[in-house]
């Protein structure tokens, strides 16, 4: 379970203080599929980064499975990201010098998994997203949809409980977008918690639950 307590993030813009997140308290149960929607600048990406342990709050805290992440060191946060969270980005964010297989195997490299085991797992994951014949292609040789499927496979490498997507369909056409959402729905059915940020209501409709944000606050 993920929950936040008085989660606040303040950015300083010169003299002014901007509340990206303003006393956010929410709960996401294990196995839920949550869409976070809202206009740009409403703080939805900031919230996602907080939940994903990429960013640290100004005050308040994010609890993941009861662990107060505000108390953790950089390395402990990296550990949480590696074990519990899989990221999918709008820009796919694959490492362009590595091929699809190596990209998927990369989180396992950081986890210290041996080379053979790593590549075996990466092959299975690519097979699951239907890219078995694109394994040795570099990201630049793949379409947007294919890249995002590689990114999903990479997010699953460490078998995380939580998948976080920041506009995962933002850079692909709508048919591909729905295909990607279908994959995420499948992962949700396996019992994983899925949290996506989107401004597209059609995409949000795939989710079981929608949280609306405005001016750094969540309105259910």
């Amino acid at each position: 379970m993920i929950h936040t307590e008085h989660l606040t993030k303040i950015y300083r813009m010169g003299e002014a203080e901007v509340y990206a997140l303003h006393d956010v308290n929410l709960e996401i149960q294990d196995g839920e599929f949550v869409a976070i929607v809202g206009p740009s600048g409403s703080g939805k990406s900031t919230l996602l980064n907080m939940i994903g342990c990429l960013d640290k709050p100004t005050s308040g805290s994010v609890f993941i499975d009861g662990i107060d992440t505000a108390l953790l060191t950089d390395n402990e946060l990296a550990e949480i990201r590696r074990q519990k969270i899989g990221f999918i980005f709008q820009q796919f964010n694959l490492i362009h010098t590595l091929n699809a297989l190596e990209n998927v195997a990369l989180p396992l490299f950081f986890a210290g998994v041996g080379r053979e085991a790593r590549l075996k797992r990466a092959r299975e994951l690519l097979l699951n997203v239907g890219l078995e014949d694109r394994m040795y292609h570099k990201p630049s040789e793949l379409s947007g949809g294919e890249q995002q499927r590689v990114a999903i496979a990479r997010a699953l490498a460490n078998n995380p409980e939580i998948i976080i997507g920041d506009e995962p369909t933002g850079n692909v056409d709508s048919a591909t977008g729905h295909a990607i959402m279908a994959i995420l729905e499948g992962l949700n059915k396996e019992g994983r918690t899925i949290i996506v940020v989107t401004h597209d209501p059609e995409i949000a409709a795939h989710a079981g639950q929608t949280k609306r944000m405005r001016d750094g606050r969540v309105r259910d």
Partner: protein, 401 residues
């Protein structure tokens, strides 16, 4: 680890030109250091070898003379010579009477050193190591003899280099208005004994009677046992000083002490050369740091992504340090090759230009040291950029486009 190397390799390959230039920087730096060290060893060995041949020699000169100083004052007497001969362990003591005189040959005049020596002492001075010149079928002549009158034996440079026209046996040259006949030409010496090449030897009798030079300017001593050389040198200094009732009047220099002096001179020379060539290494270090900083900046986004998918600070640090290490190790190995080639080329150049044989000595420990220094320099200069990369906030890095 293998994959980490692969990752580094991919990154280097992607920025091929820049990686190559960074490697080149290290290559030049390490190459320069290795070439200079190897040449230094070669030079030292060449000179030490010549000196060891003469290890049983003590050169006795008036005035406190040190290596590299040319001035000396005063002169010795026959009484000094006899005193030296009486010292136990002295095999030969040969008086040399040197003076600068005008020497004329076929219309050209130079001021050259004329040395009076007893002909029977020539073998003692030059031993078996010196031969007469017999180049190009020219009559080499013979050594001076006791009953020679107005005869001279000349060094290689006198015969072939000073005067426009070459000299050979039976040619005549005019020393201080008196004609002397050349009876022999000595083989080229070069190096440490280059002095012999520009020497003109005449008999002691001619030196005294014709040139009116009574003064003994140098006593050449050979000892029976090399290990006694230092002790005998001290004794020589004491006896001659006593004769003249002066302190520190006499300088008796053994070749052993000359070797020591030379070694300390070479030690300093080596340090200076290494310090100078290290400047290029410093520049190369800055090159690595610059390349790595650029690499870190360009890959900020990538670093963010790697952190998002679970890379710890340590993982990122390792990747960048590894890259710096690989760049510098490759540069170090190339630098060794360049250093060996450069040392050979320079020693060939010196040989051709100055006719001095200096064989560059490439020691394996110097090569290993070179590579180690390269890697150390690389990792040290990679440390700051790598730490910078490792400490990046993941969210800032991911956002960086």
């Amino acid at each position: 680890m293998k994959d980490a190397f692969l990752f580094v390799y991919r990154n280097m390959k992607e920025r091929r030109a820049r990686s190559a230039l960074t490697v080149l920087g290290i290559t030049v730096g390490i190459g320069a250091v290795i070439a200079l060290i190897s040449l230094g060893y070669g030079m030292q060995a060449a000179i030490t070898e010549q000196l060891i041949e003469m290890a049983d020699v003590i050169m006795v000169t008036p005035g406190a003379q040190e290596l590299g100083s040319f001035g000396s004052y005063g002169s010795f007497t026959d009484r000094d010579l006899e005193a030296v001969k009486r010292i136990g362990g002295v095999k030969d003591a040969v008086a040399m009477r040197s003076a600068m005189e005008d020497v004329e040959y076929r219309g050209e005049t130079f001021r050259l050193t004329i040395t009076g020596i007893n002909p029977q002492d020539i073998a003692a001075v030059f031993g078996e190591t010196i031969k007469r010149e017999a180049e190009a079928g020219m009559a080499a002549g013979r050594d001076l003899r006791e009953n020679d009158k107005k005869a001279c034996e000349i060094g290689y440079s006198i015969a072939y280099e000073y005067f426009k026209q070459d000299m050979s046996v039976n040619d005549r040259l005019t020393i201080n208005s008196t004609k002397f006949r050349v009876v022999g030409v000595l083989e080229k010496q070069g190096g440490f004994r280059a002095g012999v090449d520009s020497a003109i030897y005449i008999t002691t009798r001619d030196s005294i009677s014709i040139l009116d030079n009574q003064d003994i300017s140098e006593i050449f001593v050979r000892v029976r046992h090399i290990e006694d050389a230092e002790k005998i040198a001290a004794e020589i200094e004491k006896r001659i000083d006593d004769n003249h009732k002066l302190d520190d009047f006499t300088s008796a220099m053994t070749m052993g002490s000359a070797i020591e002096q030379l070694e300390s001179v070479f030690g300093i020379l080596q340090v200076v050369l290494i310090a100078l060539s290290s400047i290029s290494l410093l520049v190369a270090a800055m090159g690595i740091m610059n390349t790595m900083l650029m690499s870190v900046m360009e890959r900020t986004h990538e670093i963010g992504v790697m952190k998002a998918i679970g890379a710890k600070n340590r993982n990122i640090l390792t990747l960048f340090l590894l890259e710096a290490g690989v760049v510098s190790a490759v540069g170090g190995v190339c630098g060794c090759i360049l250093g060996i080639l450069a040392a050979r080329a320079i020693s060939f150049g010196i040989q051709t230009a100055f006719d001095v044989e200096i064989v560059a000595i490439v020691k394996p420990e110097v090569l290993l040291g070179g590579i180690a220094v390269a890697v150390l320099v690389g990792i040290l200069s990679g440390l700051y950029p790598a730490r910078k990369a490792a400490k990046m906030s993941p969210v800032e890095a991911v956002k960086y486009a």
